[in-house]
Symmetry: C2
Subunit: 472 residues, 2 copies
C-alpha cells in the first residue's frame, strides 16, 4: 500500500446536515441517498487498495443549480464534497471520505448541442465518452480522446483526470479538446472558464488549470469540446515479438523513422490470454508481445508510412508482421487491448501502474519492469500506450494472499522510482487521486508543491473540494 | 485611448537600488543599464498608445541565476519587474512602469538541446522563433507556431502571450507545443513546471497556467517544446473577392466542407498596397480582398481538399481562384501577409485589433468592422487568421491628427463590443497587456476576475511580477 495520508473532513458536520440536503435538493427523484447499502457503490472508484469510507450522503445532481446549492450547504458546514462521474478512475480520486458528501454527476447526461459549423459539442459531465463519439459521428464529426474506458467513463471524469487513450499519440489528450467549462466554484458561484472561439488569450487559462484537477478546484457542470472532421480509415501494422524489450525497440524505431502513428499499443501474452479466456475471441497466442501500430494518413502516403512501420518492426526483431487496411481484421486485436484491464481484474486484485517515460526509454523501462516482477516474485502483465511512453504494468495478485499483496506494493513503488529515474512521471493519464500522492511527492520539488497548494487555497478557500486528492 | 488603469509601482524603491543591481549583477558586460537614452528602447513594446514610463533600470540577464538574483533584490524592495523578449508585443504587456526594472531576456538566446528521438527542443527564452525553426529543420523537424512576427519575436515572448500565427488553424498555438518551463517564481525560486514526457497529469497544470500569463505569474527562463516531423509541401488556393464579407463567406464555406486548412489568411487591398509601396513586390492589386487558403494533406487527398476549397471560394462569389502547388508562386502573397503590419505602420500610428469570433460569425464581424470604419470616418485595413475567426482590423491614423485619433479609439471600442456581442473574445493571440484590460473587464464575469486575482496573489505574493498587466 502506498500509504496515502488519510484525508480528514474539515469539521464534524452537524447531525442534521443530511436532513438539510433532503430539504434543499428534494428526494422525490432519488437525488439524496443516505442508505448505506445504496451509498456503497458510490463510495469508491476502480482503484484497488485505495482507502475509502462511507460518506454522509450521496447527492445525484440533476442540474447545475443542484450542484450550486449543494456547494452552498457544504461551505456553510465545511463538509467535503467528493465529485464523481462513472467511477472508472484508477487512482482513488473519487473515493469517499468519512463525513463527506459524494456528488454523482451521472444523471447530468445530456448532449446539449452539436454545432457542425463551429465543430463543437456542449455536453453535461455525465455523458459517456462513447455516447458523445456516436452522437457527433452522425454529423460527420469525430471526438478523438478514447480512453480504454470509453464505453463507461464520462466526459466529466475524463476532464477531471485529463484522460488520455489510444489515439492521443497523434491527437492529444482530453484537455486538448476542451474549449470551455461551466464550473461551480468552491464559493458556490457558477462560472464559465475558457471560451467557444478557436483562439483566445484573455486572462489566465483557468480552463486548462481545472482540467486534470480531479474536482479539487471546482466542479465541472458543463463541457464544450472541439471536434474534428471524421477521419480516413486506418491501416494497422500488427507485429509479434518474443520480448517486451524488442517490442519497445520497435516503438522507438517507428518514431525515429518520422512516422506519426494514430495508435501504437503494446499488449503482452498475459493480457491476451486473460481476454481470450473471458471472451473466447480466438486470439492468436503465439507471441509474447503484440505491438499494434496504426496510421490514418490517407492514400499512398499512408501506405508508405505503414511500410516504414513494418520495416521498423522487422529491424527490431519481430517474428511476424501483418499490414492490414481491413478494419475488421485488426479490430479484434484492438478490442482485446481495450478489454485487457477488466479481463485481468477477473483473475484477482490488479494494482495498475500508469508511468510515462520518454519514448526512447520505453525498452529500458519495460526491461526494468520485468526485472522487478522477478525480484518481487509477482505477476506483472503489460499493456501500454507505447507510442507515448505511457506504460500500464498491471500487478496481479491472488485474492487473500497477503504476502503477495505486500510484495506487489513494494514492486509498485520500485516501478515509480524507475520511471522517475528515467526522466518520467508517476502518472501519464490516470491521475494522482490517492494512490499516486506519495509518488508525486517524489516527482515534484518542494517549491512546486508549495505553488500547487497556494493555487488550491486560492480557488478553494474553504477546503471543501475533494480535499486530500490530486496534489501533495 | 482605452484608459488602462495606470499601473503603479508598489513602493518607492530606495535610491541606491540601481547601485545594488550593479553590485549584484555586475555591469562589465552591459547587464545593468541606467542611462535614459539606453533604456528608451526597452521601455515599451510595439503597442501604439499604451502608457509607458522610463524604468529605474534595465537588466539584460545572461542566465537563470541573473534572473533569480534580480527577483531576490526586487522582492526585498518591492520593485516591480517588467519582463520582455524582443518587444514585438502589440498590447503593451512589456511596457515599463515608473520605478520598475525592465528585465530583457534577449541575451539568453541559446538553443540548448535538440532531441530528434523525443522530438523536443530546449531553448532559452531569447531565441527568435524563426531561428528555432531553422535549427530544428536541420534535423528533419518542424516547430509549427508561426506568428507573423516570427523573424523577430522570441520564444519567451511567444510563451508569455501564448502566441498564435498562420498555421495554428490546423496545428494550434504556442501552448500546444510547450512541454516544460523553467521559471523563476515571484519568491525567487527556480522551478520546473510541466515535464518532458508526451503525457503526464501529476498535480495541477501550472505550465499551462503560466503560458499566456504575460510575465505576471513567473519569469520563464527556459522552454522545452515538442516538435513535429517536417511536413509535406503545401498547396495554396488563392481567391480574389470584391468584398470582405464574400471572403468571410468563403472561409465559412471552406470549413463547412470539412476541409482542415493548414492556413486560411485574409488580406485586403489596403494591406497589399502598403506592402507593394514599400517592397515593390509587384503584387496584383486587382482584388479588394485576397483569401489565402493552404492544405498540407499529402497526395490525392490534398488535391481533393484544394479542389473543395476552390469550389467553396467560387460558391461564395470569388472573382478569380488559383490553385497552386508551387511554393514560390504563392510565397509572395504569404510574404505580403506577413509584412502587412510593418508596412501599414510606415503610414502612421496603427491601432491593432485582435478580436476572435466563431468562424460562422466571420462574415458578420467583417461587415460590422466596415460599418464602424464608415461611422467613425477612420481607415481600417484588414488582415485575419480567418480560419480561426481571429481578425486583425488595423485602424490607421494620420500622424498628429488628434481628432482622427479620438475617433480611432472610439472605433476600437466598438469593434471589441461587436466581437463580444457575436460570442467572441477581445484578444485571440496578442494578449491583454494594457490595451485590452478594459475590454477583458467587459468579457469576464466578476467571479472569474476574482479567481484570476486570487491566482495572481497566490503565485506572486509580493506583487512584483509585471503588475497591472494581463488581468483586470
Amino acid at each position: 500500500m502506498t500509504s496515502p495520508a488519510a484525508p480528514q473532513p474539515h469539521d464534524s458536520p452537524a447531525p442534521e446536515f443530511a436532513e438539510r440536503l433532503h430539504t434543499a435538493l428534494g428526494d422525490a427523484a432519488g437525488t439524496v441517498l443516505t442508505d448505506p447499502a445504496a451509498m456503497e457503490r458510490y463510495a469508491h472508484d476502480d482503484a484497488e487498495w485505495a482507502a475509502y469510507a462511507l460518506p454522509l450522503a450521496v447527492v445525484r445532481a440533476r442540474s447545475t443549480d443542484d450542484v450550486r446549492r449543494l456547494v452552498e450547504l457544504c461551505v456553510a458546514d465545511r463538509v467535503p464534497i467528493v465529485p464523481r462521474g462513472s467511477g472508472t478512475g484508477l487512482s482513488g480520486g473519487a473515493n469517499a471520505l468519512a463525513g463527506s458528501v459524494v456528488l454523482s454527476l451521472e444523471r447530468m447526461d445530456r448532449v446539449l448541442e452539436i454545432d457542425p459549423q463551429e465543430k463543437l459539442a456542449v455536453v453535461q459531465p455525465g455523458v459517456v465518452n462513447d455516447d458523445l463519439r456516436a452522437a457527433v459521428a452522425e454529423h460527420g464529426l469525430w471526438y478523438p480522446t478514447d480512453p480504454a474506458s470509453a464505453p463507461w467513463s464520462s466526459i466529466g471524469g475524463n476532464v477531471a483526470t485529463n484522460a488520455g487513450g489510444l489515439c492521443c499519440v497523434k491527437y492529444g489528450v482530453t484537455g486538448d479538446y476542451v474549449r470551455e467549462l461551466e464550473v461551480v466554484t468552491g464559493t458556490a458561484e457558477v462560472v464559465r472558464l475558457g471560451r467557444r472561439t478557436a483562439k483566445g488569450v484573455g486572462g489566465y487559462d483557468l480552463k486548462s488549470l481545472l482540467v486534470g484537477s480531479e474536482g479539487t478546484l471546482g466542479i465541472v457542470t458543463e463541457v464544450t469540446v472541439r471536434l474534428r472532421p471524421s477521419r480516413p480509415e486506418e491501416r494497422t501494422v500488427a507485429g509479434y515479438f518474443d520480448s517486451v524489450t524488442d517490442a519497445g525497440e520497435a516503438v522507438a524505431a517507428t518514431l525515429a523513422a518520422g512516422v506519426v502513428p494514430s495508435a501504437m499499443e503494446l499488449v503482452d501474452r498475459s493480457c491476451l490470454e486473460a481476454v481470450d479466456a473471458w471472451k473466447h475471441m480466438g486470439l492468436s497466442l503465439e507471441a509474447d508481445v503484440v505491438l499494434l501500430g496504426r496510421t490514418d494518413t490517407p492514400g499512398a502516403d499512408g501506405a508508405e508510412e505503414a511500410e516504414r512501420m513494418r520495416q521498423a518492426y522487422e529491424k527490431s526483431g519481430a517474428s511476424f508482421v501483418a499490414v492490414s487496411s481491413d478494419a475488421q481484421e485488426s479490430e479484434a486485436l484492438f478490442a482485446a487491448r481495450r478489454l485487457a484491464y477488466p479481463a485481468l481484474e477477473r483473475l484477482g486484485p490488479v494494482l495498475t501502474e500508469d508511468v510515462c517515460v520518454p519514448v526512447g526509454a520505453v525498452p529500458e523501462m519495460l526491461g526494468r519492469i520485468q526485472a522487478t516482477a522477478a525480484a518481487y516474485d509477482v505477476r506483472i502483465a503489460n499493456i501500454a500506450h507505447a507510442g507515448d511512453g505511457n506504460l500500464h504494468p498491471l500487478i496481479i495478485t491472488e485474492p487473500g494472499n497477503d504476502a503477495q499483496r505486500e510484495r506487489a506494493q513494494e514492486a509498485f513503488e520500485v516501478i515509480l522510482a524507475d520511471a522517475l529515474a528515467l526522466g518520467g512521471t508517476v502518472t501519464g493519464e490516470h491521475g494522482v487521486g490517492l494512490l499516486k500522492r506519495p509518488g508525486l511527492g517524489r516527482e515534484l520539488s518542494a517549491p512546486v508543491v508549495a505553488m500547487q497548494r497556494a493555487v488550491k487555497a486560492a480557488l478553494d478557500p474553504h477546503g471543501i473540494l475533494n480535499p486530500g486528492k490530486a496534489i501533495v
